[in-house]
C-alpha cells in the first residue's frame, strides 16, 4: 500500500512542478485543477485540527480532570464561533461584533505579552559576555534608534548607520539564509516526492 501513496505523491508533484517548467496545455489544466483540490483538502485539514481539539477537550471534561473548566471554556468558544460563523455567516453584524470585541482584543493582548518578556529579559539576561551577544546588542541598538524619530534627534548619523546595516550586511546575511533554506526546501520536496522521507510516528 505504501508504494501506492508514494506513487500518488510523485505524480501530483510532477504535474504541479512541471506546470512551471513546460508549456503543455494538459499539464497547465491539470495543475490548475490540482491547485483547487489543494485548497479543498487544506480546508478539510483545518476542520480535522479543530476536531482533534474538540475530542481532546471533550475527553477531559468527561473524565473530570482538574482542568476541565478550562476545557469547557475552549469547547464553548469553538462551538460558538464555528456554529455562528457557519450558519449566520462571518460577515453578519452579530458575528463581526464578537470577532471585533473578543477575538481581536484577546489575540492582540496575548501576542503582546511577548513584548513584556522582552523588556524584562533585556533588563536581566542581555549581558555582553561573549562576542555574539555584543554584536547582536550593538546592531540592535542602532536598528532600534535608527527606526524611531528620537534617533534622528540624538545624532543625525544614527539613521544612516542603521540604514546601512539593514541594507548591506543584513541583506547579505538574510540572503545567505534564504538561499540556504530554499535549497533545503528543494531537497525536502524531492525527498517527499521520491518517497525517501523516513516515515516516523
Amino acid at each position: 500500500m505504501r508504494q501506492v501513496y508514494v506513487a500518488i505523491t510523485l505524480i501530483v508533484t510532477l504535474l504541479v512542478a512541471f506546470d512551471g517548467y513546460v508549456r503543455v496545455d494538459v499539464v497547465t489544466k491539470a495543475a490548475a485543477e490540482l491547485k483547487n483540490w489543494g485548497i479543498i483538502l487544506s480546508a478539510f485539514a483545518l476542520g480535522l485540527a479543530a476536531l482533534g481539539l474538540f475530542t481532546l477537550h471533550l475527553g477531559r471534561i468527561s473524565r473530570r480532570t482538574p482542568e476541565w473548566p478550562y476545557s469547557a471554556a475552549l469547547l464553548f468558544g469553538l462551538v460558538w464561533f464555528a456554529g455562528a460563523g457557519t450558519f449566520i455567516g462571518t460577515t453578519s453584524p452579530g458575528y463581526v461584533f464578537y470577532y471585533r470585541n473578543l477575538l481581536q482584543p484577546i489575540g492582540n493582548a496575548v501576542f503582546s505579552l511577548l513584548m513584556f518578556y522582552i523588556v524584562t529579559a533585556a533588563f536581566r539576561s542581555f549581558t555582553i559576555n561573549k562576542w555574539q551577544s555584543a554584536t547582536i546588542l550593538i546592531t540592535a541598538a542602532f536598528i532600534m534608534l535608527g527606526s524611531v524619530p528620537v534617533g534622528e534627534v540624538i545624532w543625525k548619523g544614527i539613521p544612516e548607520i542603521s540604514g546601512w546595516i539593514l541594507r548591506v550586511p543584513n541583506t547579505a546575511g538574510q540572503r545567505g539564509i534564504i538561499i540556504g533554506s530554499a535549497i533545503g526546501g528543494v531537497a525536502a520536496a524531492l525527498r517527499t516526492a521520491l518517497g525517501l522521507e523516513r516515515m516516523r510516528g
Binding site: 512542478a17 512551471g20 524584562t120 525517501l196 523516513r198
Partner: protein, 262 residues
C-alpha cells in the same frame, strides 16, 4: 516545450536529484557517508549533562509549542534526534531527564524516543514515563507548567530545541534563573537572536537539521545533506565567478542568468 527562461531552475532541480540519488546509491553499496563537520553546540551536550549528573540535578528538554502539521513539522522531527541523544547520555550517566510537550502527538513521539534511547543504552529500567509529560496544548498554560517544573526541580541543563513563540523567551529565562546551562536552537528568526544572547550554546537555523542527521548517524540522511551542500557550493562558485567576470567588465554570467535563470 521547456520554457526557455526556466532552464537553469530545472537544471538546479535535476542536479539535486542526481546528487541525492548518487549519494544514496553510494551508501547502499557500502561506501561511507561523508563526515559532518563539528557542530560546537552538540559537542557541549555531553558536558552539560555530565555537569548536571555531578550536581545531582535533572536535565530538561522542551521543543516548545510547534505542531506536527504545519511548516514547523520538519524542525519538530529534527528536535527528536536531539532528544534521543540527550536521553542516551542521561541513561549512560544515570541522570534524570524531564521532558515537557505541548502537542499530544509529539508527546507520544517523545515517550517513544526516550524509551528507545534508554533501552539501547542498556538501562530500560531507568525510563520513567511520568517524567515525559504532556502539559497543555495552549501556549501560556504550557509555558506556565514548564516554568514551574524548571524552577521546582532546579534543572541543571536545559535543552530548548524546536519551534517557539513567546514561550521560548519564558523557557530560556526560567532556565537561566534556575542556573542551568542551556542549549537552544530554532528556525524562528524572532526568537533565535534571543536564544543566542540568553543561552550558552545555540544551533543556528538549518544547523538543527545537520545536527539531526549527525546524531542519527543515518547514512541516507547524511548523503541528502551532502546533496544540499553540492548545490550550495554550486551557488557559491556561480557568485564568485559572476562577481569576478562582472568586475572585469564581462556580462557573460549575468546574461546567462537573465536569459535562462528565472
Amino acid at each position: 516545450m521547456v520554457i526557455k527562461e526556466r532552464i537553469l531552475s530545472l537544471g538546479l532541480v535535476a542536479f539535486m536529484v542526481a546528487a541525492m540519488l548518487y549519494g544514496l546509491w553510494r551508501v547502499k553499496n557500502g561506501a561511507r557517508a561523508p563526515a559532518i563537520r563539528k557542530i560546537p553546540a552538540l559537542e557541549a551536550l555531553s558536558e552539560m549533562i555530565g555537569r548536571a549528573t555531578e550536581m545531582g540535578r535533572p536535565v530538561h528538554f522542551t521543543a516548545g509549542t510547534g505542531r506536527l502539521v504545519d511548516q514547523n513539522a520538519p524542525i519538530m522531527l529534527a528536535s527528536l534526534d536531539v532528544l534521543g541523544k540527550s536521553a542516551e547520555l542521561c541513561a549512560r550517566y544515570g541522570s534524570r531527564l524531564l521532558v515537557t510537550a505541548s502537542d499530544p502527538v509529539y508527546h507520544a513521539m517523545c515517550v517513544d524516543a526516550v524509551k528507545t534511547s534508554f533501552a539501547s543504552s542498556g538501562d530500560a529500567e531507568g525510563f520513567r514515563s511520568e517524567d515525559v509529560r504532556f502539559l497543555s496544548d495552549t501556549q501560556f498554560a504550557y509555558a506556565a507548567g514548564a516554568i514551574g517544573l524548571i524552577e521546582r526541580e532546579k534543572v541543571a541543563a536545559n535543552v530548548v530545541v524546536g519551534s517557539y513563540g513567546a514561550e521560548g523567551l519564558l523557557l530560556a529565562e526560567a532556565g537561566a534563573n534556575a542556573g542551568a546551562v542551556q542549549l537552544a536552537g530554532t528556525i524562528n528568526m524572532n526568537i533565535l537572536p534571543f536564544f543566542v544572547v540568553a543561552c550558552d550554546y545555540t544551533l543556528l537555523g538549518e544547523e538543527i537539521y545537520a545536527a539531526g542527521a549527525y546524531l542519527s548517524g543515518d547514512g541516507p540522511r547524511v548523503s541528502m545533506l551532502a546533496a544540499q551542500d553540492y548545490a550550495k557550493v554550486a551557488v557559491i562558485l556561480a557568485i564568485v565567478l559572476g562577481v569576478v567576470t562582472f568586475s572585469v567588465g564581462s556580462r557573460a554570467i549575468t546574461n546567462i542568468l537573465d536569459t535562462f535563470g528565472k
